[in-house]
Symmetry: none
DNA sequence: CATGAATGAGCTTTCATTCAT
DNA sequence: AATGAATGAAAGCTCATTCAT
């Protein structure tokens, strides 16, 4: 009775198993039976909680994107400086990678496939996530901290693409990678922010 | 040579068909039979030119990555300024997207799936491609044009990730996108280069 | 008896639901869960009253065949003329169709499938039903009202087959049918009886 | 090379196997794999010739109904007397039963299930078949050989229903049946025709 | 070299049935 | 007796791959 999650326990177990299995094999090489086995439920049980195999992935994205948005929103609470917000985002994204490598691998690897596959579905959450990024940049522009000639709509994607690729590297390289998260955080945030902010560099670059 | 071209004709037709089919459906939802039909060859003929379905994707990457490396190398010929080289790369990458949207969609979308799937195979070409990027950055450092505290190994991925995500947007948005390639080129190159180069911004950022 | 009615209530509800569901989908396309839902009982409850899905159909036949035999017996009470008995049967059968189209659809459609499927089971009731028909015919022969060269064993099947097919038509055509029950009754009974009885026609037919 | 039916051989083998398997188990208890095994083809081969399991049954009906219509049409060639035509039909139907008991069992048993299941499909052939019967009866009326008060639309169904049920009995009883085909033919044709024709019986029946 | 009919392993999904509550 | 979540066997169908022609 302490845990009212008697049932939803299974929902979570299936989702966790799916993350692990998808990370190991990729979505298309994963078998529903393997997820069931890892979740310690019967094959059929999965279909009590999810419409079909696709639905597992979709719900996985919706769920986890929501969590990521929540975590990011929490991390940004009390941060007022837009530039600092960008740093907080980058740090928080890398922290996610360190804490949930399997999940991040799935999101990073499968979201691409799924950008098409899920055009109709989970993109909404993804767009909400991206919007947080463009909002930070837009706010920086409004406050005069970020250059006028910056387009938040382009830079949100540039930022996400950079983070996505660096995350993929971290996740796939595992412990064998040359770079640690701290170093990546520093370099990614410094250079990206410098790119958005420096007014002095103009002549140099254009000249 | 007369017959040689007859054969490679089919090889090329299969590869071109694969690009179109993979772009339309994704690798795992594409059927060998559909590729055969689009290439106007028999199903079995494909297995005279490729070991199996995976092999089509692998060879596709090797082939096209080689072409991209060649095109980029050609574009870089005569360019000596490392900073200018980065601009040339960005311009050339966007040009590829405009000229071969299907191909770029396949590479952009499937390379992720395949980074794992193809760990043993085509990565070699991909790494050669990435190395061109880190070489440009390292050269910039050596010439004092790029900051000392920049890691070419991290920045090559940051740069590729940014370009990959912007390309994906262009490719998926099609004509409906808000941004044109020219604008993206300008903004991506300016801000990325600014991020690598500006010495003056240090205090501002750190302070 | 108070609790007895509570129980048989569920038994009846399940049977009624089964009639409606089987009529709608056919036996093999009907789901136990759908019957349960329509009977407003839990899936598992069905297995307190029936051994399995097959058993529902078997009991349905036994039950309803019994009712039909009862109804027919009642209708025949006081009728002494064997020829009139045949008329009463035909009229009573069509009346069943009009009053319980779903039930008659199930019996008419599924009994075939089930003649095999139920070879061991419910045939007993069906044979009792058929026997009423042959008894009427035999009685007619004994009384000299029906021709000597008629085989009750064949004609009981001919009669049932005719009624079965006409019922099927009525049931499937619904309101859109061209013929009404009254007309069918008249034509079916007149011609069938004529076939059994006419002595004068012999030459004509044989000649 | 004599047999150009190299391929359609398989089509026929699958259909023949389906008849035998469906007759043995009924449609819904038959497995595609069992049909494949009996036809000595691979499971997948079936799907080169038929869209799905349902389609096998549908095509089976279309095919065999066509054959039956053809056989009946041939048998009727040169027969001018409508009454004789009815006899020819009855004889020809029983002959089909004797020659192809499995097929007739499938048609007889599954056509019911399928009257619903196939509402959209093969009914066309079935209706063509029925129409031959009503045409014979109508012709008899026109020539004054069949009573005025007979409805061809009702009697075609009565006739078919009678034949269908008698066939079912023959097919299911096998050799154990009490009646032989010759006897059934005589009794079914005599009494059915008497029912349609006798003018003299009127008073007797009505009175 | 080319074909495409044939193969059959393998996967998703369904659903009758069970059993802890 | 009643429930309904959970089970897992079973089967239809797909599609990469082969091979006789």
């Amino acid at each position: 009775m302490a845990t009212g999650s008697k049932n939803s326990d299974k929902h979570k177990r299936i989702l966790d198993a799916a993350i692990s299995v998808f990370a190991r094999n990729g979505f298309y090489n994963s078998k529903v039976a393997e997820i069931a086995k890892e979740a310690k439920v019967a094959d059929g049980t999965i279909y009590l909680y999810f419409k079909n195999k696709d639905d597992i992935l979709i719900k996985l994205f919706e769920d986890k994107m929501n969590e990521m948005i929540g975590a990011l929103t929490t991390a940004l609470e009390g941060v007022t400086d837009p530039i600092e917000k960008i740093r907080v985002y980058i740090r928080s994204h890398f922290a996610m990678v360190a804490a949930n490598p399997d999940l991040m691998e799935v999101i990073t690897v499968e979201l691409r496939q799924s950008t098409k596959f899920m055009k109709e579905y989970a993109n909404e959450q993804f767009n909400r996530y991206l919007k947080i990024l463009s909002d930070m940049i837009r706010e920086g522009k409004d406050k005069g901290l970020i250059r006028d000639d910056i387009s938040p709509g382009i830079q949100k994607r540039a930022l996400f693409g950079m983070m996505d690729e660096l995350s993929l590297y971290l996740v796939l390289a595992g412990d064998k990678g040359k770079y640690d998260i701290e170093q990546m955080y520093k370099e990614a945030s410094d250079s990206f922010i410098r790119g958005l902010t420096c007014y002095e560099c103009n002549e140099e670059i254009k000249g």
